[in-house]
Symmetry: C2
Subunit: 704 residues, 2 copies
Amino acid sequence: MNTAAGLDHIFRPRSIAVIGATSRPGSIGRELTHNLLSYDFKGQVFPVNPHARFIHSIKCHPSILDIPDPVDMAVIIVKKELVLPVVEACGQKGVGGVVVITAGFKEVGEEGAREEEELLALVQKYGMRMIGPNCFGVINTHPDVTMNATFSRTQPLPGKIGFMSQSGALGEAILAHAHRLGLGFSMFASVGNKADISGNALLNYWKDDPNTQIILLYLESFGDPETFTGIARQITRVKPIIAVKSGKTTAGARATISHTGALAGHDIGVDALFDQCGVLRVNSMEELFDVAEAFDHQPVPRGNRVAILTNAGGPGILATDAAAGLGLDVAALDPSTVAALKAHLPTAAATGNPVDMIASATGAEYRMALRALFDDPNVDSVICLFVPPIMIDEMAVAEAIVEARAQTDKTLLACFMGSQDAAGGADRLKKAGIPVYSFPEEMAKVLERMSQHRAWLNRPVRTAPKPERGITSVRDDLARLARSGQIQILGSEALNLLERCGIPTAPLVGGSGIAELQTAAEKMGYPVVLKLDSEGLAHKTEIGAVIVDIRNADELARQHQALLSLAAKHKLTGANVVLQPMVTGGVEMALGMVRDPQFGPLVMCGVGGVLVEVVRDIAFKLPPLSLDDAREMIDQLKGRKLLAGHRGAPPVDVEALVSALVRLSLLVTDFPLISELDINPFVVCPSGSTSRAIDARIVLAPAP
Amino acid sequence: MNTAAGLDHIFRPRSIAVIGATSRPGSIGRELTHNLLSYDFKGQVFPVNPHARFIHSIKCHPSILDIPDPVDMAVIIVKKELVLPVVEACGQKGVGGVVVITAGFKEVGEEGAREEEELLALVQKYGMRMIGPNCFGVINTHPDVTMNATFSRTQPLPGKIGFMSQSGALGEAILAHAHRLGLGFSMFASVGNKADISGNALLNYWKDDPNTQIILLYLESFGDPETFTGIARQITRVKPIIAVKSGKTTAGARATISHTGALAGHDIGVDALFDQCGVLRVNSMEELFDVAEAFDHQPVPRGNRVAILTNAGGPGILATDAAAGLGLDVAALDPSTVAALKAHLPTAAATGNPVDMIASATGAEYRMALRALFDDPNVDSVICLFVPPIMIDEMAVAEAIVEARAQTDKTLLACFMGSQDAAGGADRLKKAGIPVYSFPEEMAKVLERMSQHRAWLNRPVRTAPKPERGITSVRDDLARLARSGQIQILGSEALNLLERCGIPTAPLVGGSGIAELQTAAEKMGYPVVLKLDSEGLAHKTEIGAVIVDIRNADELARQHQALLSLAAKHKLTGANVVLQPMVTGGVEMALGMVRDPQFGPLVMCGVGGVLVEVVRDIAFKLPPLSLDDAREMIDQLKGRKLLAGHRGAPPVDVEALVSALVRLSLLVTDFPLISELDINPFVVCPSGSTSRAIDARIVLAPAP
C-alpha cells in the first residue's frame, strides 16, 4: 500500500513488544532488544518470549496478550512457523503496526508467497500496518522517539537523512559506512518484501516529515512506477532524492517486434522514470554516500561555475580535469578576484583557475583566497584542496577554511590529501559541516550531481497537453484490426492512421499499372520514391524494396518492373507498388514507442540512420510529453547538431519535430491497444516545407 | 638524460651527506635527517651545516669538504642562493649523485630556468647525476639500503612497487595513502624539474631492478615520448606500468588546419602513446591505488570470465552490473560447479552467477563455494563479497577465504562491506595478500584493468612495414611546393600524390568545355560526380561545389553550368570543373593525420559523415602502424558494423582499408614535410571493386 496512514505506529510508537526477544549472545532477538534499550527508546519495551522470565533486566511476557499495558508496535523475530499466530495475537492485542524481521516468505518461492498473502490478510483484517517480512528493521532518531529497532551492530547518528533500503543484508553495511562518514539519519527502514508498506508509502511519509531533508534509496525493483513518479516529483522540489538502482543487467528480456523496442535497453525505463521526477541516480554505493555527504551539509550551488583552490599543482589539475570532463564550468574569475589573489600571494602562485597558492600557503592565505573566491560573482562553488606540507600548520588551515565557510552561502567541498591524523584538519572540517573527500576527482562528480539537482529545481513545472480521448474512427479501426488478429499495421495503412491523429505524412499513391503511376508522378513532381507495400514486409530497405530519387518517367517504368520482379522473387503475393513524393533537404529522424511491462509506454527520438543504428544516439521519455519534454529529448541527442544546419545545410523546423513527438505521446497514451510504434524516417524540413512521416509500423496488442 | 648509469649513487649510496641538515622542529632539514636515521639507513649519514656542531647526536660538518670519509650521495636542502656553490663543493668532494630538494628554478620562470641550466652544467662537469631540483626526495626500501631520503611524515612499507611522481606536493599524500592500504614500495622518487634524471631514466633503472615488480607513475608531462614508448614497451611485457596523467584539459591549443587536426583532442596523444606500449592509464588517484593493490598481491587473470560470490543479493547484483557494464564476462558456470554448490547450499541460495549463498553462509560454505569456483574451468577470477550478518563468525569467513585462496592461482578480490572492526576479517584478508575493497563496484573496474593487461601480454609483438624512404619524385614535389610557400595541396594534386604513394584514388578528369567533359563521362560511365577544383577551396561540400549522381549528358551540361556560376559567385578565379566516376556501394571512411608538437604524427581513422562529425567515432594511433595496428583501429570504431554489411548491404573489403591506413602511416613517417593530411572520403568497396580515395588535402610544414 502506498498510503502513509498508520506509519506513526511503526516509526513513532509509544511502546514496543519484541516478540522473540532472547538474551542468547549473537542472536537477532538479543541484538534488537539491546539496541532498543541502549539507544534509549523513549517509550516502553516489552520483551516477549515464553521461555524467559527476564531479558536485559526487563520482565519478559510469555505472549503479547499477557502484557497489561497497551502496545503500539511489535517487532517479530520468531521462527517462520510462528509468525502467523503471533501476528494474530498482535491483532487481538490491538497493536497498530508490526515489523516482521523473520524471513522465508515470497523470497523463497511459491509456497512462501502464499504464506505472505495470508500474513498480509491477517494484518489487514486487524487494520494494522506492516514492514517486512524479511527485513532488517526500522530506525527513528528523533529526540522524542530515539528508536533503533534493528539488529545492527552500529548505532545510528541522528541527522536529516531518510534511508530506505530494499536489501536487508545491506543494512549493516549502510549504517556502518554512514557512521564512519559522520552521516546522520532521521529515519531508516529496511522494507524487505514490501508486503504491506511499500517504498512509495515511506516516501509519502517522509514527504511530510520535517526532520527528513534528504532521501536516499537503495532499490532493486519498482512496485508501482506511476505512483513513485507522482510522489517523487513533489518531494524533489523540496528534498533531494538520491537513488542507487541495482539489477541493470539482470532484468528479464522484453519481447518486442519494433525497431524502437530493440533499441530500448532494459534499464532505459528506470532512467526515464527518474529523469521525469528529478531523482538523482548514482552509479554506486560509494557515489551515493559521496553525494549524500555534500547535500547533508552544503547548499545546492546556484550554478555550475566552480573555482578550484589548491596548495599543490598536481591535485589542482586532477580536479580541474574531472570538473571540465563532467561538463562543469571551470569559472573565469572576476578580474577583481585575480587582483586580490595577486596582491596576497607569492609571485610563483597561479591566480587563474585553478588557483595554486603553492606549498607555502598558510591558514591566512587560505582564508583570504576563499573569501575572494566566495565573493566572486562568477563562482558558484569552491573545491578546496590541501596537501599538508611539513612546514605548514594543518589545523590553522582547517580553522581558516571553517571560518571562511561560515561567511558564505556558496557550496564548499574539501579534500585533505594524505592527512594521516584522524584528529587532524580533515576531522575539524567534517565537524564544521564541510564534506571532506580523499581524492580530488570525487568532488567534481558530487558537484555535477548537485548541479543536476539545481537544474531540476530551476525547471518550471511542465504540463503535457491533455489526451484527446481518441478519434472515434481511429479507435474503431484499431479495435477491428486487433480483433481480426492482425499484429502489425504497415505502410499506407499505418501512415493513414498517423495522419488522422495529426502527424503529417507523405502520401502513398498506388496505381493499377505503370501508366497510372507515371501520371501520378507527373502530378506530384519528380524526383519520386517507389516502394513495395505489402503486409508481410516489415523491413523494406533490407531487400531493396525502396527505390529513391527516381527522376523521370523512363526510370520510373524501369524501377517499377524491378520491384515487380523483386515481389515475385520474395513471393510477396498481394504486394502493391506505390509511389511517394521524395522529401528532400530535411533531416531524417526515427521516432517510436515501446511499452515496457513495468514502466508502460516509452517514447523514443533519434536521428535516423547510423546515429540510431550504430551508436544508439537516442532519447527515451515516459509520456505524457509536454512541449518542453519533447524539446529536452531532442537536446539530449548528439545528432541535434544536424538539425541546427550542418555543413552549410539550412536549419530545420525543430518545432515540427516537437509537435510530432507530442502527438505521438498523445496517441500512445490514448490508445493502449498500440503496443509498439515506429516512425522511420520522419523527415524534418526547413521552415516553409512540411515535415512528414515517410514510413511507419504499428504493433497491436492482442484484443482484450 | 634517459640513461640509468650512475643511478646507483642515488638509490644505493653507501654514505649520504645532508647539506642543510638542522634540528629545528618542523623543518625539511630536520625531517629528512630524522627519516634517514629512523628508517635505519644502511650506511653513513653526514649532516652538513656550518651553524651546528651536532644534529640528532651526530657530528655536523660545516662543509661537505670537511667530511674525512668518501661521500656517495648528497641531499641538498639549502636556500636557493647556496645551491650552486654547494653542488660545486659536492663535485670537488667526488660525490656521485645529488638530490636537490630546494625549489625556485625552472618552475618559477625564465631566470630560474637559466639558473637550472647552470646547475645542470655543474652537475655534468663533475660527472654526477641529479634528481630535482624542486623535489620531495627518494626512497629505497631494499634491506641492504633502507633509505628514506624524503621529508615525509610517513615511513614507507617495503614492497615491490616503484613509484615515480612528477609532483613533489603529492609525495606525502602518496606515501600516507599507500601506508593506509598496506602497499609497499621498492623505490620511490619525486623527480621534480627533471633537469638531469628524467622519468625515462628511472624507468630504465627499474626495468632491471628485480625488487621492482610494479611501476606506478604520476605524470604531468612527457619529456621524450618516443624514448618512453621504447622503454615502456619492454617493461610492460614483464612488469605492469599503471599511470595517472593529469592535465587533460589544460594542454595548450594545437594550431591545425585539417579536419583531422580539429578532431584530435588535446589528450589523444597520451592515450595513443600508452596504448602503443601497454601502459594502463587510470582516471584518478583512487583508481591508481585500487589497481595497484590488486597487481601487488594477485595474479593477472588468464581471461575476463568472472564469478561473483556473495552472502547478500543486493551487493551481488551491484558487482554483476558493474562487471557486465565494463565488458567483463559474467562466467557461465560449469554444470559440475552448479551441482557442487547445490549439494552444499540451502535451497534458497542462488547457484547461478552471481552465487548468492544468502545470509546464513558460514566460513565452511565460503570455503566450499570458493573451491568450486576456483576449480571451474570457465572461471578466471572471483569477486568475493561478504556483508557480515550478526549470527555469522566474520573471522571464520575470513580464514576460509584465506585458505581457499592458498590453493589456487586464480585471481581473487574481496569486499567486506560495513565491516567496522579494523582488526576484523578485512584486515585478516589484507595480511594474507587478498585485496579488500569497500564497495562491490570498485572490484569490477580493477578486474577490467587487469584484463586489459592480460590482453597486452597475450598480444604478439607487432612489426610495422619499413618506410620506403620515399618516392624520389614525391619528395621533390613536396619540397618544391613547400619552398614556393604553398600551404595546402588540394583536389587532383593531392590525389595524384597519394596515388603515387600506393593509395588508390578515383581519377579526376578535367576538360576545356562541356563537350570534352561529356565525352569523358561517357567513357567512364554514368553516374558521375562533378566538382569545382580550386586551390582556395578547402570545404567544397559546404558551398555546394560537389554534385553527385549525375546520370546523363543533359544533367551534366546543366550542372556544369551551375558550377561555373557558383565559381563566379564565390570569385574562384582559376577554378576548374572536374569529373570523377561515382564510386557507389561502398562505405565512406575518413582517414587522416595530424602532427602533435609533443607526440609527433597521429594517424586517424573513422567512418565518414555523421559518425565522425557528430559523435567523433574515431580512432587514433601513433605510426608506424603494423597491419594489426590498423585492424585494431578499425575494431575500435562503433561504425565498424557498417563495414561488416549493414542492413542487407554486402560486407566491404576491410583489408583494402587496412592497406590504405598502413600506406598513410608510411607516407607521413617518410615525409616529415607533411604536417597534416585528410583523405575524406575514402570509399571502401566490397571485394572485387577497388576501394579509393575520393578527395584529399595535404597540409605542408614551412620548408626548412
